[in-house]
Symmetry: C2
């Protein structure tokens, strides 16, 4: 038996198309409906067999399905839920792949009518490349997926959504939605903000001969700024959706950097070496 | 004919031992003297054939040689030059591999007696792994080497040192020593300081269940913090030697990050997207 008869994927980009491909590979669903703003992209997804049906509109994309997976930028998720709710059949489950969960999950909970169920998900998968062309059936294999149930979350719906992500190869974990935003604000959003700020600091610097200083960069700068290639719209939405934690984490980082600055200004070699050795030790845990 | 008859490598770690191996490979020198603080390491280097002579002391390491290459942490370079100068023969050339050049090059210039020549070098090569065991004959191939001549630099000595680095596979460029420190303060030292500060910010954060938040990290955090694994003593010395530029660059970065913070606080989506798009564009030039 299939996990779901019919599912709808809204947003057929890297995450959405990869999920569709994985659902096919593991034979998890009967039919996949796809919908998104870019018609050409949808038709390409259909012609490649990534989705079965290229829906005309949101209503047609969702009205017969058992599961809707929202794979759009995070700021679009709540407005889309509001638009699609009137068209869902009883028993339908909605989930999403948004990188920020707190405000979204609480708003979604409050929107749910009797017999329609929402479960927040955040599959930790992606890459610098986005879009249908970058999608692949193994994107989710061996990666983590965070589920963010609330006291209102239906247990069966939670199990179904968990089973979906596990069936495409993920390890599922649950976190409170606000705690999720603090944790991913720390390990993902802050590093992106820092990488963007570093790239913007360096990008404008020039030598006396008016050469760009970045022409002298080596492997270290490439690595630290790789994530500064992330999609501006996606990261704009993430930072604004997770505003409270973003600001708090930037403040914590600026304080730590300010302390390092003081130690360099005072030429306190011992304190500087200790700070760098502590970073070495913390970094070991990231590997 | 060999480039040099006898050379001395002070500090037989990653850079020094790799240079010795490359000199052998390309048959550039007759004999290699090695010296350093760690006797066991030196003897291992000799038994492996990386160096020919394991000198008893600094005097024995340098008195017969045509070229001394200082491959120690940057803070040790000027004191070592002072100690070895009395033992050098006329015509000897000294160079170094220090990552900070301004103060060092000017102090070295002022120390040079008649008939002994100093040329500052900064081969842009390395890696997180340090020490003899990590050394390899191709470390320098296709990498850049910055030479930092001053008005006092002897032209022949500059040519010889340039020929050494080119013979082991490097592209040589010249920069004014202070400009070098600004440029590498920007593309190398600041990114390291930022990576250390980021790691120290995240390393102490815990979830409500007292788990380390870094347990949730993905590929992005790994990349951005890779250089936070750099050797604390080496980076302490670099930051303190390049203090003026380090502080200036930290200030520039804090200002840029503070501006991003303000934009997030004001929820100015357009300005945030533009800042991220600018970072994307600058990042393209680093690739």
């Amino acid at each position: 038996m299939k996990l779901f008869e019919k599912i709808s994927i809204i947003g057929v980009g890297l995450l959405g198309a990869s999920l569709a491909k994985a659902c096919r590979k593991y034979n998890l669903v009967e039919e996949i409906y796809g919908f998104g703003r870019n018609r050409e992209n949808l038709e390409k997804a259909k012609s490649l067999g990534v989705i079965d049906h290229c829906a005309e509109d949101l209503e047609n994309a969702v009205r017969d399905v058992d599961l809707v997976v929202l794979c759009t930028p995070v700021a679009r998720i709540v407005p889309l839920i509001e638009s699609l709710l009137p068209h869902l059949k009883q028993g339908a489950v909605i989930t999403d792949v948004g990188s920020v969960k707190g405000p979204l999950v609480h708003q979604a909970d409050n929107l749910m009518p009797e017999g329609i169920f929402f479960v927040g998900s955040h599959p930790i998968a992606g890459g610098e490349k986005s879009g249908l062309d970058a999608s692949r059936e193994d994107l989710y294999v061996d990666a983590k997926c965070i589920l963010t149930p609330t006291p209102k979350t239906d247990t069966q719906a939670l199990e179904k959504v968990g089973a979906l992500w596990e069936s495409v190869g993920m390890d599922t974990l649950t976190l409170d939605a606000d705690e999720h935003d603090f944790v991913f604000g720390a390990v993902s959003h802050l590093p992106h903000i820092v990488a963007y700020a570093l790239m913007n600091t360096l990008g404008t610097l020039r030598t006396r001969q008016d050469h760009e200083v970045t022409a002298y960069s080596g492997a270290g700068l490439k690595d630290i700024t790789r994530i500064a290639s992330g999609d501006p719209v996606m990261w704009r939405d993430i930072c604004l959706s997770n505003q409270v934690h973003s600001l708090d984490l930037i403040d914590r980082f600026q304080k730590t950097l300010g302390e390092l600055r003081n130690v360099i200004e005072k030429k306190d070699g011992q304190a500087l070496e200790e700070a760098f050795a502590a970073a070495n030790k913390y970094r070991m845990k990231v590997i």
